[in-house]
C-alpha cells in the first residue's frame, strides 16, 4: 500500500476537481457527500499505508516516494516527493480522520447555505494542501502545502464575505500568515545557500557543515514562519478574528490542522533544533509567553468562539514550549489530543450556536444542559480534557509537557502551571455560562454573527426553545468525545499504543531524555491534577449562577492586551499615510509627471522644431546651404589644425 501513498493527497484533490466542475449542479447535500467520501477514502488509504508502514523494521521505519522531478536546475534539484515516516503518518491519520468527521458535521451545519458546494470545494482543497504539507519530503513541498492551507484558510474564513467583518478577517489571517512566510522563505534560502539541497534527509546529514550560527539562524527564521501560521506572539491576533468563518472551519483549520502545521514543521526539523540550543530556548520562551497571554485574554471574552480561539493559541503555546524543551513526543501527543478535544469543543460550540439560532454571546446563553443534552455531555468531556482533569487525555498530554518543562527550564514550568490553572478556570467559566444557570436566552434574540440560513425564518424575533442538533452533527461529536477521552492511552510507555515508541525512529537522536525520578514525576502529576480540579471548581462556582462579574473581566484582557490597537498605531496608520502619500503625491506628480513630462518635452521640442518646416522651398534650400557651409567649415578646420 505504501506505493500508493500519493492517493492520500490525490483523493481530496479529485474531490475538489469534481466539485469545481459540477458542484453547483450537485447541490445540497450531494456536494457535501462527495467531499466527505473523498476525505473518507483518503482516511482509509492512510490506514492502509499505516499498516504497511508497520511491516517495516522500526529503526528505519520510513518510505520515500519520488513522484516526479519538479525543479531540475543545475545545483537545485527539487523533487515532488513524499516521505512517509511515523511523524507524517501520525499527522496524516488524524488530519484525514478528523477532517472526515468535520465534513460529515458540515453537511448538517451548512445545510441551506446558498454556497453549499463552494464550502466543500474549499474544504477538500484545504485537506489536500495540508496533506501535501505533512507528506512533503523537502522544504519546498512543505512550503507549497503551507501556502495552500493559508490560501484555503483565507477563502474559508471570508466565506460569508458579504459581511465586512468576515472579509476583513480573511484578509487579516492571510496577511499575518504572509508575514510569517517571509521568515520561512528566508530560511529556505539560507538552507539552500549552505547545503544546496532542500531535502530533509540531506539537510540533516549535513548539519555539521552548516555551522552553529547558521543553524540558529535557520531555526529562528523557521520560527518566524511558525509564528504566523500557528498564531504565536507576536503574530496571533488573526486567529480570534478568523472566528468569522463558519464553525466547522474553525474546528478544522483553527484547531486541529492548519495551526498545527507549525508544530509539525518544527518537529520535522528537530535535528536542526537539537543542534541549536539557543533557538530551542527561544521557541520555548515564545511558546510559554504565548500560552500565558492567550489564557489571560480568554478569561474575559464573551463570544464562545473567541474563548475557544484564544484557548487554541494558548494550547499551541504549550506545544511550542514542549518543542523548545526538546520534548517532541510530548508536543505531538498534546497536538493529537488537542486536535480531538478542541475539534470536539468547536463542533460542540457549533451545535450550541445552531441550537440557539446563531447566538454566540455567552451572556445570552444558559442552562443549555437541559435542552441540549448530547451536546452537553460531549462538550463536557472536551471541557474536562482541556482542563487537564485526570484520567482524560488532556491530563496526560499536558502533564507530559509540564514534566519536560520542569526538567529543562523550571522557570517556564511555573508559567506553564499558572497557565494550566487559567485554562481550567476559563473553560469552566465558559461551560458554566453556557450550560448552567438560568435561561438567559429567553428574553432576547441572537445578533446573527453567523447567518445560519436554515433558521432564517426565525429572524423575526421570538426565540423558540433551543433544539438539539440532528444526528449528522451529533455522531461526529460522540466519536470525537470518545477519542478525546481515551487518547491518554498513548502515554502508557512501552505499550502497543505508546506514542513515544511509535515516534522513536523519528526523534530518537534528538529526544530530550528527562532524568526525572519517579518521585518527581508523581509529585508533578499530583500538582497538575490538584490545580486542574481546584480551578475547575472555582470557575464553575463563580460562573454557573451569575453571568455578570465585571471585576473579573477587565477591559485590558477583553481587549486582548490592546495588541490590535498597538499594531494599528505602529504599522497600520503609518502604512495608510504612506499609501495616501504615494497615491496623492508620488503617483500624480512624480510618476505621471515624469511620463507626462517626457511626452510634454517631446511635444514642446516638436512644436519648436516644427517652425523649420515652413513649406517654402527657398527656406529649405537655405537649410541645405547652411549644412554645406558647416561641412566646409569642418573641412577647413581639419585642414588647418589636424590635417
Amino acid at each position: 500500500m505504501l506505493h500508493v501513498t500519493y492517493l492520500i493527497i490525490l483523493l481530496p484533490l479529485v474531490g475538489f476537481a469534481v466539485l469545481v466542475a459540477a458542484g453547483r449542479r450537485l447541490g445540497d447535500p450531494a456536494a457535501g457527500v462527495v467531499a466527505t467520501v473523498a476525505v473518507g477514502a483518503s482516511f482509509l488509504v492512510s490506514i492502509g499505508v499505516y499498516l504497511d508502514l508497520l511491516t517495516v523494521d522500526a529503526p528505519v521505519r520510513s518510505y520515500s516516494q519520488n513522484l516526479w522531478t519538479w525543479i531540475p536546475v543545475d545545483r537545485l534539484q527539487v523533487h515532488a516527493a513524499l516521505y512517509v515516516d511515523p511523524l507524517s503518518m501520525t499527522m496524516v491519520l488524524f488530519i484525514t480522520g478528523i477532517s472526515f468527521l468535520i465534513h460529515l458535521y458540515s453537511i448538517g451545519y451548512m445545510k441551506g447555505d446558498k454556497d453549499f458546494p463552494k464550502f466543500f470545494l474549499y474544504m477538500n482543497l484545504f485537506v489536500a494542501s495540508m496533506l501535501i504539507l505533512v507528506l512533503g519530503s523537502n522544504l519546498l513541498i512543505t512550503f507549497v502545502g503551507w501556502e495552500g492551507v493559508g490560501t484555503c484558510s483565507y477563502w474559508l474564513v471570508s466565506f460569508w464575505f458579504t459581511r465586512d467583518s468576515a472579509a476583513s478577517a480573511g484578509k487579516k489571517a492571510f496577511v499575518y500568515n504572509r508575514i510569517g512566510d517571509v521568515g520561512f522563505l528566508l530560511a529556505i534560502f539560507l538552507v539552500y545557500d549552505k547545503v544546496h539541497s532542500l531535502d530533509y534527509q540531506v539537510i540533516f546529514h549535513r548539519i555539521p557543515e552548516i555551522g552553529p550560527a547558521n543553524v540558529t539562524a535557520i531555526c529562528l527564521l523557521l520560527l518566524v514562519g511558525v509564528m504566523g501560521k500557528s498564531a504565536q506572539i507576536p503574530l496571533f491576533p488573526w486567529l480570534a478574528d478568523a472566528m468569522e468563518g463558519p464553525t466547522p472551519v474553525s474546528a478544522l483549520i483553527h484547531a486541529a490542522t492548519m495551526v498545527t502545521a507549525g508544530v509539525y514543521l518544527l518537529c520535522r526539523v528537530s535535528p536542526l533544533l537539537h543542534a541549536s540550543p539557543d533557538a530551542a530556548l527561544t521557541v520555548a520562551i515564545v511558546g510559554a509567553a504565548t500560552a500565558f497571554v492567550a489564557a489571560t485574554i480568554a478569561c474575559a471574552q464573551q463570544d464562545i468562539k473567541k474563548v475557544l480561539a484564544y484557548s487554541t493559541v494558548s494550547q499551541l503555546g504549550y506545544m511550542f514550549l514542549a518543542i523548545g524543551c526538546g520534548a517532541y513526543t510530548a508536543a505531538i501527543f498534546l497536538m493529537v489530543a488537542h486536535a480531538f478535544f478542541k475539534g470536539l469543543l468547536f463542533l460542540g460550540a457549533g451545535s450550541v450556536i445552531h441550537g440557539l439560532h446563531d447566538e454566540q454571546d455567552l451572556k445570552r446563553m444558559g442552562n443549555l444542559r437541559a435542552y441540549l443534552p448530547i451536546t452537553f455531555i460531549t462538550f463536557g468531556i472536551g471541557w474536562l480534557c482541556i482542563a487537564a482533569v485526570p484520567p482524560l487525555s488532556g491530563f496526560w498530554a499536558k502533564g507530559d509537557v509540564l514534566d519536560n518543562a520542569w526538567a529543562a527550564h523550571p522557570a517556564l514550568w511555573v508559567v506553564g502551571i499558572v497557565t494550566a490553572a487559567l485554562t481550567a478556570y476559563y473553560m469552566s467559566r465558559l461551560t458554566g455560562l453556557a450550560f448552567f444557570g438560568s435561561d438567559r436566552w429567553a428574553g432576547s434574540h441572537g445578533d446573527t454573527p453567523e447567518p445560519d440560513p436554515a433558521h432564517a425564518h426565525h429572524a423575526d424575533g421570538a426565540v423558540s426553545e433551543p433544539h438539539e442538533s440532528p444526528w449528522i452533527m451529533t455522531v461526529p461529536l460522540w466519536i470525537l468525545a470518545f477519542f478525546a477521552a481515551i487518547a491518554g492511552v498513548m502515554a502508557i510507555p512501552d505499550s502497543q499504543f505508546s506514542l513515544a515508541r511509535w515516534l522513536d525512529p523519528v526523534f530518537a537522536s534528538t529526544l530530550y531524555h528527562d532524568n526525572l525520578s519517579s518521585t518527581a514525576l508523581w509529585t508533578l502529576a499530583i500538582v497538575d491534577a490538584v490545580v486542574a480540579i481546584v480551578f475547575v471548581v472555582i470557575g464553575l462556582r463563580l460562573w454557573s449562577q451569575r453571568a455578570d462579574r465585571p471585576a473579573l473581566e477587565g477591559a485590558f484582557l477583553r481587549g486582548a492586551w490592546y495588541i490590535n490597537e498597538l499594531y494599528d498605531a505602529v504599522f497600520g496608520r503609518p502604512s495608510e499615510r504612506l499609501a495616501a502619500f504615494c497615491a496623492d503625491v508620488v503617483d500624480p506628480r512624480v510618476i505621471d509627471g515624469a511620463v507626462n513630462g517626457v511626452a510634454g518635452a517631446f511635444r514642446g521640442s516638436g512644436t519648436v522644431l516644427r517652425r523649420t518646416q515652413t513649406g517654402y522651398v527657398r527656406n529649405y534650400v537655405l537649410g541645405i546651404t547652411f549644412g554645406t557651409v558647416i561641412v566646409l567649415g569642418f573641412m577647413l578646420t581639419r585642414m588647418w589644425w589636424g590635417g
Binding site: 515652413t614 517654402y616 527657398r618 527656406n619 537655405l622 546651404t625 547652411f626 554645406t628 557651409v629 566646409l632 567649415g633 573641412m635 577647413l636 585642414m639 588647418w640
Partner: protein, 254 residues
C-alpha cells in the same frame, strides 16, 4: 592647391592673349550670372543666361576642350535655354516680379551671409587643401589627339555603362515630360480628370472644373480627392449641394 598645381603644371608665364581672353570671358560670365539673378523679367534672365553660357564655352576653348565648347553651345544655349523661353512664353509668366520685396522673414540676409561664408570657405579651401588624389590619367591623357577622338574613345570604352544609362535616362525624361505636360482632355467624366492630374492634394480654383457646368453625381463611392475638388468647385459654382458636403469638409482643411 596652388602649390600642388604648381608642381603639376609645367608652366611658363601666361601669355598676354591668354590672359586677355580669360579676363574678358570671365567678365562676360560673371556679368551674365549677375544678370540672371537680378533681372526682373524672366525673358531677360534667359538671355543673360545665354551670355553666361557663351562665356563658359569660351573658357572651355581656352582650356583645349573644344568639343565640349561646341556641345555646350549647341545643347545648353541652343536647346535648354530655348526650352526655357518656350515655357516662359507659353505659360505667360513674363510678368515682372518684384525683386525688392522679400516675403520670407530673414531669408535675404541669411542667404547673403551664408553664401558669402561658403564662398570664402571654398576659396580658402582652395588655398590650403590637398584634395586631389594625385591619380592622373585614370581615364586617359587629354592631349595627343583631337579632343573629339579622345572623348569618344573614352565614352565607348571606359565609360560605356554610364553612356548607355544616360541614354535610357533621356528616354525616361522624354516620356516623363510628355506625361506631365499632357493637357487633360476637356471631358465631363470625373475619371479622366482624376487620371490626368498627377499631383494630388491641390485645392483651389480649378479652371477645368469651372468649365464643367454639370455637377457630378456625388455618390458615397467618391473618395477620389480630385473628384471631390471637382465637386467642390462645381458646388461652389452651383451654390452648394448637401451630398458632397462631407467630402468637401475633408478636402477644404487639407
Amino acid at each position: 592647391m596652388s602649390a600642388l598645381l604648381g608642381v603639376l603644371v609645367t608652366s611658363t608665364r601666361p601669355t598676354l592673349p591668354d590672359v586677355g581672353v580669360f579676363a574678358v570671358a570671365a567678365a562676360i560670365v560673371l556679368a551674365g550670372a549677375i544678370g540672371v539673378v537680378v533681372a526682373r523679367n524672366p525673358v531677360h534672365s534667359a538671355l543673360m543666361l545665354v551670355m553666361t553660357l557663351f562665356g563658359v564655352a569660351v573658357l572651355f576653348v581656352l582650356q583645349q576642350a573644344n568639343f565640349l565648347a561646341a556641345v555646350q553651345v549647341i545643347v545648353y544655349a541652343g536647346a535648354i535655354v530655348v526650352l526655357f523661353l518656350f515655357v516662359i512664353m507659353f505659360l505667360g509668366v513674363d510678368r515682372e516680379e518684384d525683386v525688392a520685396k522679400e516675403p520670407l522673414r530673414g531669408q535675404r540676409p541669411l542667404a547673403v551671409a551664408l553664401v558669402l561664408l561658403g564662398t570664402t570657405g571654398l576659396l580658402l579651401l582652395g588655398q590650403v587643401s590637398k584634395w586631389t588624389t594625385g591619380q592622373p590619367r585614370a581615364a586617359g591623357p587629354d592631349t595627343g589627339a583631337p579632343n573629339v577622338n579622345l572623348i569618344g574613345k573614352s565614352l565607348y570604352t571606359t565609360y560605356l555603362f554610364p553612356f548607355e544609362a544616360t541614354s535610357a535616362l533621356l528616354i525616361i525624361a522624354v516620356v516623363g515630360a510628355v506625361v506631365l505636360a499632357r493637357r487633360p482632355p476637356a471631358a465631363t467624366s470625373s475619371g479622366a480628370v482624376a487620371e490626368a492630374d498627377a499631383d494630388p492634394g491641390e485645392t483651389g480654383p480649378d479652371p477645368v472644373a469651372a468649365v464643367d457646368g454639370e455637377p457630378p453625381v456625388a455618390t458615397g463611392v467618391a473618395d477620389d480627392r480630385a473628384t471631390a475638388a471637382t465637386a467642390e468647385g462645381a458646388a461652389g459654382v452651383a451654390g452648394g449641394s448637401p451630398p458632397p458636403a462631407g467630402a468637401e469638409e475633408r478636402e477644404v482643411d487639407a
